[in-house]
């Protein structure tokens, strides 16, 4: 990255973190190798701010690190036990809201949702499971959309639009009825412009969108988050968790 180190700094948990004009707290943190838990954020894509996992306390205000601009002198509380336990509750809400069955899921071990849950020491969903009725789209020979596992982060929406230049996905509905829909006459993946190597599939932090052409090519136990927790992996790479061939 072409970066001239600027003298502008924020403090995250007592540590001085430099930043340059226009960066968010998240971008400054990632650049310095400081991990702030997140799901809907991915370097290179427009900040979204929907999962709220990266909420920090910045000079007394609760803000999402991915959308809040870094400003000289900002004092950021990130890795405190209070924040971590509230973030755990956010992940629990996501687990309670969808239908997540990690032991049967092809994404297990490469899934950021699962990895973040482990890293935040989550043992159960805590809140009442909602058991939503959502439809599965298995119409495409190479791409699977399992809405049960979708956390509505809109990374695929952004990637398909900004990177793949296709606009295959969008969120529809409202409140608990929010769901991912597919841009095609039939509403099915098979009639859309999706292709198995689209960035839209790779960015999905859960097992909702998957390339089905190489199932289980990396055995369980050797996957991205199986041995090294997500918080210890290079933060810039943490979103890049497509199933490796």
């Amino acid at each position: 990255m072409p970066q001239k180190i600027s003298p502008r700094k924020i403090k995250i948990d007592q540590q001085d973190i430099p930043f340059s004009e226009g960066q968010s707290i998240m971008e400054a943190a990632e650049q310095a190798g400081v991990y702030i838990p997140h799901l809907c954020h991915k370097a290179g894509y427009k900040a979204h701010g929907s999962c709220r996992l990266c909420t920090v306390k910045a000079s007394g205000r609760w803000v999402s690190a991915c959308t809040e601009p870094a400003e000289v002198g900002l004092q950021v509380e990130n890795n405190s036990s209070e924040l971590q336990s509230q973030r755990r509750a956010i992940v629990q809400l996501l687990f309670a809201e969808g239908n997540h069955h990690c032991p049967f899921c092809e994404k297990s071990g490469n899934c950021q949702l699962q990895a973040v849950a482990y890293s935040l020491d989550m043992h159960d969903a805590h809140f009442a499971h909602q058991f939503p009725h959502r439809t599965l789209d298995a119409s495409h020979p190479e791409v699977l959309l399992d809405r049960d596992r979708c956390i509505q982060c809109e990374l695929c929406v952004r990637a398909s639009k900004e990177h793949d230049k296709k606009n295959v996905f969008a969120l529809s509905g409202r409140g608990p009825h929010t769901q991912l829909i597919v841009n095609s006459e039939s509403g099915k993946l098979k009639d859309s412009e999706i292709e198995k190597d689209d960035e839209a599939i790779k960015v999905c932090p859960t097992g909702a969108l998957m390339n089905r052409s190489k199932p289980f090519s990396v055995p369980i136990g050797q996957r991205q988050f199986d041995n090294i927790p997500i918080d210890q992996q290079s933060t810039g790479k943490s979103g890049n968790n497509e199933a490796q061939p």
Binding site: G49, T55, F131
Partner: protein, 601 residues
């Protein structure tokens, strides 16, 4: 073929002439994708629904992804992809309506029409559903029929409605008296006593010049009346100070806070003042483009608003070279909402104006620097614009002699609930809760809810508190409850409201509002287990801190206040305890557990 009338559109619908219908809608709205929502609202009214094939056609014609149109139809409550019925009835389910026995009347209506709530009748004639407060709490129970409001429902009116429907009487032929709403102004003050004639304030602003006008507004210390209380002059200055090709003025007439109806009355009685406030704002910030975002529930106000706008244009108070001032061009367009409380939040409102789902934006940037189509935009409440105009009128300077240190002037309150005189009350800020209750003639008041479900629940011990930004701030909803009311039922009504109105963008609110409501439902029917209370407290903090916008941040305040004030009714006691695990209920969900969609492959 001429498709200018609804009946021609209906014929086209029968013939499935999608492109004809789409063309008609597009032509009405400048074929602009930013008017996509307005087109859908128009078609929903004309056809009763927007079939999927038509949605696809509109998307193609507007060169938008199909998902964009589908997303709109599924987001806005009053739009539907399925045919619901020739007569679509939405019954207001605010707590004040419930207190007037809306439930029994609803049942009555359903029974007589032989239809169940939320299910279209087989002959596709009638559909009955509940909706959030429609802004008629002073004359409830009330409902909307094909978008038009009917107040003061009672058994007699229900019978009348039923017979009109069963005799296939066209809505335009229904007795006008059914749709007559009253403006029930109970207490006038500085604003409602206004005698300034239309154009006078604008002339005054033009006479003293832009800088002096802004200074005048600054000196008045007017703050936003929509709830947040931001200094109005400061907002206008920020916007003016952002260089851009265009600037925009938006009047927020979404008035979605349950129990509020003061903007409705202002729009009817003081529309000139509102337009004048917007026009003065346009002059001061250099805007040419203006919008009124009118909630769907106020469709009945639209014809008169359009007439007043036309009158303003005819009098050169709007349009080109306003009042002969070269270069002062400004006009106002009305956009309708389509049933989404969140669209009252200013950035969601702007998204909606742009023809999108009403999802609140990330801030910064704030609308004053990047608003409608990225132009610097002032968004103010209806009452704020009216007051701004009034400040430039006769004895406008008396404004700041009223009120308190931090809260100058007066405030309009919408008072409803257990009072013999519901309606609009204008008070100077600083009035005590007790004084308000007294003025309304309410007896035996147990507690009041100020500022709607997101506001404050005050019991008798707090009636000495004062209404002002420093103490009890409010957008204007004031609901009164007497000792016979069950607080649990009221809180449950509010948790249901938020669960229904969460936009679904962010995790804590999307899931939290559902859980809040489920937990409260359980507590109010079966009593509380200690873990229920813990979970509610946990959710409250989480939503307050982690939510993306004001809706989620405030949605569980009511639960917190309820827990604090009615703990005896809520906290587990010997006779009031049940486990949070309901075996039967759990099994019922397991029984319904997902069967893989056979149509998926």
């Amino acid at each position: 073929m001429d498709t200018n009338s609804d009946s021609n559109l209906l014929k086209a619908l029968e013939a499935e002439s999608w492109s004809l219908i789409s063309d008609n809608a597009l032509n009405r709205f400048q074929r602009s994708p930013h008017h996509a929502l307005q087109m859908l609202i128009y078609l929903q009214a004309a056809l009763g629904y927007i079939p999927p094939a038509l949605q696809r056609q509109i998307a193609r014609d507007l060169q938008l992804p199909i998902t964009h149109i589908q997303g709109l139809v599924a987001f806005y409550f009053f739009l539907s992809a399925e045919k619901l019925g020739t007569y679509r009835i939405y019954i207001s389910n605010n707590i004040t309506d419930k207190m007037l026995d809306a439930a029994t009347l609803t049942e009555c209506l359903c029974q007589q029409l032989n239809v169940s709530l939320g299910c279209p009748r087989e002959d596709e004639k009638v559909y009955i559903e509940q909706t959030s407060c429609i802004g008629l709490s002073d004359q409830g129970p009330s409902c909307l029929i094909n978008g038009l409001s009917i107040p003061s429902l009672n058994e007699e009116r229900i019978r009348q409605i039923v017979s009109l429907i069963e005799s296939d009487t066209e809505l335009s032929l229904w007795p006008k008296s059914l749709f007559e709403t009253s403006d029930s102004i109970q207490r006038k003050g500085w604003l409602l006593d206004n005698t300034t004639s239309p154009g006078e304030s604008l002339r005054q602003a033009l006479k003293i010049g832009d800088e002096k006008s802004l200074a005048l507004l600054e000196k008045s210390a007017l703050r936003g009346r929509g709830g947040a209380g931001f200094p109005t002059a400061k907002k206008w200055r920020f916007c003016k100070g952002t260089p851009a090709e265009k600037h925009v003025v938006v009047c927020n007439a979404d008035e979605g806070e349950p129990g509020t109806f003061k903007d409705r009355v202002l729009l009817r009685q003081h529309c000139d003042l509102i337009l004048e406030g917007m026009t003065i704002c346009a002059r001061l910030i250099g805007a040419e483009l203006g919008f009124i975002y009118l909630r769907a529930e106020y469709l009945n106000l639209l014809p008169d608003l359009e007439k007043t706008l036309q009158k303003w244009r005819d009098n050169n108070l709007l349009g080109q070279a306003i009042l002969g001032n070269e270069g002062f061009n400004f006009d106002i367009e009305i956009h309708l909402g389509a049933g989404a409380y969140i669209c009252g939040e200013e950035s969601a409102l702007i998204e909606s104006l742009e023809g999108k789902r009403g999802i609140p934006r990330n801030r910064p940037p704030f609308p004053v620097s990047e608003g409608y189509l990225s132009y610097p935009t002032v968004v103010n409440n209806v009452e704020t614009f009216a007051m701004a105009a009034r400040i430039f009128g006769k004895e406008g300077d008396s404004f700041s002699q009223l009120g308190t240190e931090q809260s100058k002037g007066t405030k309009l309150l919408s008072i409803s609930g257990d009072t013999p005189k519901p309606g609009i009350y204008e008070f100077p800020w600083g009035v005590t809760i007790q004084e308000i209750i007294l003025a309304s003639g309410a007896k035996n008041t147990y507690f009041v809810q100020v500022g709607g479900p997101a506001g404050e629940l005050l019991d008798q011990s707090q009636f000495k508190r004062t209404l002002c930004y420093e103490d009890v701030a409010t957008g204007g909803s004031f609901m009164i409850f007497n000792a016979e009311r069950n607080p649990l039922e009221i809180i449950l009504n509010f948790t249901q409201f938020f669960a229904h109105e969460s936009c679904g963008f962010c995790t804590p609110c999307r899931v939290g509002t559902q859980l809040n409501h489920q937990l409260f439902e359980k507590i109010s029917t079966q009593g509380a287990a200690p873990s229920d209370i813990e979970k509610l407290e946990e959710l409250n903090l989480l939503m307050d801190r982690f939510s993306h916008c004001g809706l989620g941040k405030t949605a569980s305040h009511i639960v917190k206040q309820g827990l604090a004030q009615f703990h005896k009714k809520l906290k587990p006691g010997d006779d009031n305890w049940s486990p949070d695990f309901d075996l039967d209920k759990s099994l019922s969900t397991a029984r319904k557990l997902r069967i893989i969609d056979t149509g998926a492959n």
